[in-house]
């Protein structure tokens, strides 16, 4: 069995009387794409917040690549190899696409207390950024202001920013949400190209995308993982069908 890169144990987080995360265990193997699905209100956002370091769990632990990161902040986790996309597109709207990605490169190129040289002229930032933009298919749009990109392109840009940090773990929060059919297919195709090279946690409502991409699926309902396993197992699980898939069928 491959070494697990992310190990979540007995994670709990409550808001008042509501247990949004109610004893979640999660185990991620290097290189797998692990989807987390669940109906609205299942606690996916809260779980992601704790994984990314924006929310403090009440108890439990998160280990990443052998290190306990439970109490690290979001930037600290990012510097150790966490990268994420947000459910609602989160980019620098007033920067060009290239500058967006170059910032992500910069974040992982040592400290930024450099006060004089124009960052835009630094090839060490620009060149890797351009490579990643090409990779996600935005090469031709490098100099467009991010705000002026189409919605699908903005989602791509966000993934590009995450990849530019050369992450060990990619956390994708509904990457195809709000996309048209064609855009969504292109994104799924792109993500499947990452499979094996990149460890991915995929939170997604689009079941087509989930069953295309995921190596394993965990089903989150009321803050608990009620099932976890290969896609066929999860699809066949009666409890899951009742709690979740059944609603959609």
């Amino acid at each position: 069995m491959a070494e697990s890169i992310l190990a979540v144990q007995a994670l709990r987080k409550s808001f008042g009387a509501l247990a949004a995360t109610d004893g979640v265990d999660l185990d991620l193997r290097e290189g797998e794409t692990h989807a987390i699905i669940g109906p609205n209100g299942a606690g996916k956002t809260t779980l992601i917040g704790q994984l990314a370091g924006n929310l403090r769990p009440d108890s439990g632990s998160i280990r990443f690549a052998g290190e306990d990161i439970t109490h690290l902040s979001a930037p600290q986790r990012a510097r150790r190899g966490f990268a994420r996309s947000f459910q609602i597109t989160s980019i620098y709207r007033d920067f060009t696409a290239l500058d967006n990605v170059a910032l992500a490169v910069q974040a992982h190129a040592g400290h930024s207390f450099r006060f004089w040289r124009a960052a835009r002229e630094e090839r060490a930032l620009r060149d890797p950024a351009r490579v990643v933009l090409e990779e996600v298919g935005l090469g031709a749009r490098a100099d467009v202001l991010a705000a002026n990109l189409a919605h699908g392109e903005q989602r791509q840009l966000e993934v590009a920013m995450a990849l530019a940090t050369r992450p060990r773990l990619l956390l994708l929060d509904e990457p195809v949400a709000g996309m048209g059919l064609e855009e969504s297919e292109r994104m799924v195709q792109f993500l499947s190209g990452l499979k094996g090279r990149q460890t991915i946690i995929l939170v997604e409502h689009d079941m087509d995308a989930v069953f295309t991409l995921a190596d394993r699926i965990s089903v989150l309902v009321y803050g608990r993982i009620i099932a976890s396993g290969a896609p066929e197992e999860v699809r066949a699980n009666a409890e899951v069908r009742r709690a979740y898939l059944g609603e959609e069928a």
């Binding site: 990314a52 924006n54 902040s73 979001a74 930037p75 600290q76 990012a78 510097r79 990268a83 994420r84 947000f86 989160s90 980019i91 620098y92 709207r93 007033d94 920067f95 500058d99 910032l103 992500a104 910069q106 974040a107 992982h108 930024s112 207390f113 450099r114 006060f115 004089w116 040289r117 124009a118 960052a119 835009r120 630094e122 930032l125 920013m161 995450a162 940090t165």
Partner: protein, 312 residues
């Protein structure tokens, strides 16, 4: 972009021509007025670094004006008139005060930040008022202007004017370099989208704090200039309305633009001067003018220039 460069170059030429023109037309008052504009231009340029590029709405920028001015005044009070030393102390003291205020306030966000920066400046204001040795409420005279080893004589209004102009341009160039550097990118990124900035691995706090300190130091220099300009130092330099005015200069001129704050300082102080010449109750007109400018003129003066309102 070329038209913009031409217009800005013309502005600089006009500013260079002010002293000879004022002398020819026998209107020395305008040298004085424009010098004041340029000094506040430096203060506004410094605030723009954190407000326009960093998104930190500091309502206490006048504090550093006061610290800079009192540094000069207190050294002069003890008989130290060396300008190199005085101005260095002004810059370093302002940087230290900014470090203390910033260390507490930059951690906070939004309305807390506004109120805290305002409150700390008010604290310094009261400190100035209550220290009787340095004139308390009445302030103190600067009997001897800063001495620069006989190289420049600030006593000569024209020389002093050019010194201030050169420093303003230097500050604008410095801010231009800063906001385009890796450092500047981080503070601009944090302004644009803090969650994203943290998610890619930046902790904005140390960068924002350093920007806050640089802005404070630069405004401290403006304070040292102001002390020599008025030859009088009072706690009124740190009055909270002064902070508001500097903020207005940045907004009026255009946030996140290199020439904007200087244009804003020009517009605000000239309008003030004209209204004040017209009626002693000028603020009753000035206040609503400010309200209207906030409501309807968000782009700022720099936005009227060809090439738009943003630089960097």
């Amino acid at each position: 972009m070329r038209a913009r460069t031409l217009i800005l170059a013309a502005c600089v030429l006009l500013l260079l021509a002010v002293p000879p023109l004022a002398t020819v037309f026998n209107q020395p008052y305008y040298i004085d007025l424009l010098r004041r504009v340029l000094i506040f231009g430096i203060a506004a340029v410094s605030l723009n670094l954190i407000l326009g590029y960093g998104g930190l709405v500091s309502f206490g920028h006048a504090a550093y004006l006061g610290v800079g001015a009192y540094s000069v005044g207190i050294l002069a009070f003890y008989g130290i008139h060396n300008g190199w030393l005085q101005w260095a102390v002004a810059i370093v003291a302002s940087a230290l005060v900014a470090l203390l205020i910033g260390a507490i306030s930059v951690r906070t966000r939004g309305i807390y930040f506004i109120m805290i920066t305002l409150a700390f400046t008010q604290m310094l204001y009261y400190l100035g008022v209550s220290v009787e040795e340095f004139g308390g409420d009445d302030g103190m005279r600067l009997k001897v202007k800063s001495q620069f080893s006989g190289l420049v004589d600030l006593g000569d209004p024209v020389t002093y004017y050019y010194v201030v102009l050169a420093l303003l341009l230097a500050c604008m160039y410095l801010v231009h370099r800063l906001v385009n550097s890796r450092f500047g990118r981080v503070i601009r990124a944090a302004k644009s989208n803090e969650a994203r900035t943290r998610a890619i691995g930046f902790s904005p706090y140390p960068y924002q704090l350093v920007a806050f300190v640089i802005a404070g130091a630069m405004c401290g220099l403006a304070g040292a200039l102001l002390a020599n300009h008025t030859a009088y130092i009072t706690p009124a330099f740190m009055d909270w309305t002064r902070s508001g005015e500097i903020m207005f200069m940045v907004i009026l001129g255009g946030m996140g633009s290199i020439p904007g704050p200087a244009l804003g300082a020009f517009a605000l102080l000239i309008v003030e001067d004209q209204l004040a010449g017209w009626t002693q109750h000028w603020q009753v007109i000035f206040g609503p003018l400010l309200v209207l400018s906030v409501l309807f003129f968000k782009r700022g003066l720099a936005g009227l220039l060809p090439g738009g309102g943003k630089d960097g």
